[in-house]
Subunit: 157 residues, 2 copies
């Protein structure tokens, strides 16, 4: 058993696991908040100099996990580790968000696909030299659907 404690939580417009955007890419101009626990505020020093962050979070509303799933952006089943679907053996989510600004212990972000109240596990800066991989093979996703227009449904409830 590996134990973590939330470092904060998300305040977003999404109250229900259905009809949500698929990844940050599906959201236009909603400002959401990542509220970091006040005692950890010093950990945010200099973060506002970065434009994008990784948000690692607990998919706290997930029920049973599954080893193969039909992801939102395809019609065929794939192994869970070949998808970003939430029904994972460890319900850990990963999204990239653009920082709008930071006030005290609150990171205001431009786009995030998190349910309101989602426990946050970690925040890391997105760094070109590590994270911008220019040439990749994207597997089944290359024939998949558009994350900008596809929304979630209740399949992972």
């Amino acid at each position: 058993m590996i134990e973590f404690t939330a470092i904060g939580f998300a305040k977003t417009a999404y109250k229900d696991i259905s009809d949500m955007p698929i990844q940050g890419a599906g959201i236009a101009n909603n400002l959401a908040q990542i509220v970091i626990n006040e005692e950890l505020q010093a950990g945010l020093q200099d973060l506002a100099e970065f434009s994008h962050i990784y948000v690692i979070f607990h998919l706290h509303k997930m029920g049973q996990s599954a080893l193969t799933v039909i992801p939102f952006l395809d019609t065929k089943p794939h192994g869970i580790f070949a998808t970003r679907s939430p029904k994972r053996p460890n319900p850990i989510g990963l999204s990239i968000a653009e920082i709008d600004h930071i006030e005290d212990n609150i990171i205001f972000v431009k786009d995030i696909d998190l349910l309101d109240g989602t426990p946050i596990l970690d925040i890391k800066p997105y760094i070109q030299a590590f994270d911008n991989i220019k040439h990749t093979k994207d597997g089944w996703y290359e024939q998949g659907m558009d994350p900008k227009t596809t929304r979630s449904d209740d399949r992972f409830k």
Copy 2:
């Protein structure tokens, strides 16, 4: 308390937390292994069609966390959430690795900055549409050191 169980572990050439590469970008041609628990092998279906994965892992050798640190690639302190340093409130690591091939329950990867025996929490495919952020501000890192030539030392022991 949020509890997870390792889905597998890393087999790498790095037996000690000092003198390791900084992120996957620092490694040339070492083939490392991500050994997934056999009962989860079905979750790897179709993953070999992707070229790159996110590996989310437990920084299991970290001691006390710190809210500000001097990262390996700079000489000044920054908030922990503005760095990728391991002394995080939740010791969760995130690295991108290139898949060489997959055999049964073992993902052979070309580059990974993980200590041998590191517990793996999750594997997700790297997907251009979500993860390739072309224009970012990289904060202190823009004046930082080269991850290809910088190695870790014992500051986070």
